[in-house]
Amino acid sequence: MEQEIALSAREQAELPLLGRLHEWVVTVDHKRLGLMYIGGGLLFFVVAGLQAVMMRLQLAVPDNHLVPPQVFNRFLTMHGTAMVFLVGMPILTGYFNYLVPLMVGARDLAFPRLNSFGFWLWFFGALLLYFSYIGGDGLYGAGSAPDVGWFAYAPLTERAFSRGNSTDYWILSIFLTSVGSTATAVNIITTAFCMRCRGMTLGKMPVVVWLAVVVAFMMLLALPPLSAAQVMLLLDRFAGAHFFDTQAGGSALLWQHFFWIFGHPEVYILVIPVFGFASEIIPVFSRKVIFGYQVMVAASIAIAFISMGVWAHHMFAVGMTPAGNAFFATSTMLVAVPTGIKIFNWIGTIWGGKIRLRVPMLFSLAFLFQFMIAGLTGIMLAVAPFDWQLTDTYFVVAHFHYVLIGAIVFMIFAASYYWFPKATGRMLNERLGQVHFWLFLIGFHLTFDPLHFAGIHGMPRRIYTYQPGRGLEGLNLIASIGAVIQALAVLVFVINVVYSLAWGEEAGPDPWDAWTLEWSTASPPPEYNFAVEPEVYSRRPLWDLKHPDDPDWLYE
């Protein structure tokens, strides 16, 4: 039987190029779909990142005329929308797609065809967003790409104010990609609950899988409000409904509520997966068991719960009641408690460990510091009067980029260096990785540290230029230089991936001496993942295998 499978694998490798591409299109294998999610996400990361660089170049000096105001509005809308729905979501669901079955010792996700359906839904939804540059004119000749901002406040999005079809592309693209993500969420939950290998009780699941489940539940609960609001907006725009039409008694505020009921949990949908990566990478590179496994999982669940009740802290400036402000300020600060627990646990894991400063660990350490600063500015913004002063300034931009880049993108890079050998069989080059890390770290801080101060000086977000003599020139110039350095760092990463795919060092099944099940099979894993279905006795099955005289299950 195994020989037959091996034969067919060799036959596949001998297929002509077109045949191999066809294999990728019709595949239902979780590993291929996961890689396609990650690859697609990285592609849009480059596109949306270049749009950010264009915006930074425009803002480098005051009274600049490099990017016209209309184009600037489209850039900021496309950059925000793409980075959330076309980059963050697919890359992280791609990792879950790839890792969850391997980590629970299963041969695929629970519903492979649903998985493939979800991917292609996401793929064509994503194309739809950028197709708006060609097709957004509609019959009106009014504008190309959407320019309403990533949270698209009503009534700006109504027919009367957003003519043409660019906003419709925005609506449909987000709707489709959200449905695709929901399919993944159903799959992850079912796989984790129904397909764990023998002996892997819920308390022995790797932290990554636990957090994948938490995130999947959040997707099931937080994405539908957005989809529902998009349906309402479509009805407004095409059927003459009045949901957000203020002239017929509709409420513009309702859109804000619906959007942020999705929008705030979305931040945690993006950041909790990278908590999982950190909880996997930090122990392996500190040569210690994760500190406080149960507390780690419980804290993540607590974050997920609390994050469902904090959405209106995005809306302090619209003038809610004092009780509303107090409630949302308090619940927002409450998030700091479980988050603090997690940071202490990661430090506890590193403490006294034999630290190996390889590239994944470097990115993880940077993540720890930057995520903590991002959390601290988050607490500052949770104070309602402080938020009134700083809402819609570059302070907010700097705060959430500290989360999205300083925490999430840094950990995505860490995970890329960590799992690339598993997926491809080759190591990413360590030296290029170091260059990538330091360039990206320097570029990130040059860009986003000064922007905090620009925001406190009163620089509003979403403006295409500013006047000289207001103390903003220096800060903006430094930020723009940093953006270029970050772009160079990403270029180094792309070169590293291409170079290592061809000439990288052979990895072998377990290059990091790690402990979870994905490292027990070949790199890259065969289509069926495990020749024999594994059986586990502790949270670190590979430790037990490597140390039969001192297995973990004696102490757990």
């Binding site: 629970a110 159903v186 609950f193 529902a228 003459g240 409904a241 017929a248 008694g249």
Partner: protein, 200 residues
């Protein structure tokens, strides 16, 4: 662990290993996400109660669809009877109850269609008339869409039954379909309460 050095440590034997079935977890996850979807439409409906700027208003044009509601709710019972019959291997009984379920669901759709016809042609209420029309047609329409999807799936199973392709081993699959159908019924209870009791 003095003994460990002498004799190799033998891992404990896993007596049994039972995990929940995939279909059940999948359908429950789907129901959870659909609940979140519906609750936003219900929230919008409740938020806009009494905020219409022009007539017609709900109390002037709406009357509770009692027969419809009875039909839809009883279809939840007949679908249970059908699945139970299939589990026992009585395919013919299953086919009968399945047909009854389908007819009851169809009656509900027909009743909704008649209600909408009256509202549109007699009371001149469309989705663009006022906020009541906007929220009413979107919420009730969303539910009717789910009934339609359920009916299509029930019809597919019915055709398979008629073709003699259905047997006891598909009891689990039909039960999953029945869970979706129960969900659609439960949503109707909420929609009915919101639209015809609280909102009128």
């Amino acid at each position: 662990m003095a003994t460990a050095a002498v004799s190799p440590i033998v891992p404990p034997v896993h007596a049994q290993w039972n995990l929940p079935r995939r279909g059940r977890a999948g359908i429950l996850a789907l129901i959870l996400t659909e609940t979140a979807f519906f609750s936003i439409f219900v929230a919008a409906y409740v938020f806009y109660i009494g905020k219409s700027l022009s007539p017609p208003y709900p109390r002037d044009v709406l009357s509770p669809p009692i027969v419809n509601t009875i039909c839809l709710l009883s279809s939840s019972i007949t679908i249970v009877l059908a699945v139970r019959a299939l589990r026992a291997g009585h395919t013919r009984v299953f086919g009968l109850w399945w047909l009854v379920t389908f007819m009851l669901g169809l009656e509900f759709l027909a009743g909704t269609a008649a209600e909408w016809y009256g509202l549109i042609y007699h009371d001149h209420l469309t989705i663009s008339t006022n906020l009541f029309g906007t929220t009413f047609y979107s919420l009730v329409g969303l539910h009717a869409m789910h009934v339609t999807i359920g009916l299509i799936m029930i019809l597919v199973v019915m055709l398979l039954t008629a073709g003699g392709h259905l047997s006891r081993r598909y009891a689990e699959h039909t039960e999953m379909l029945s869970w979706y159908w129960h969900f659609v019924d439960a949503v109707w209870v909420v929609v009915f309460t919101t639209v015809y009791v609280i909102g009128r």
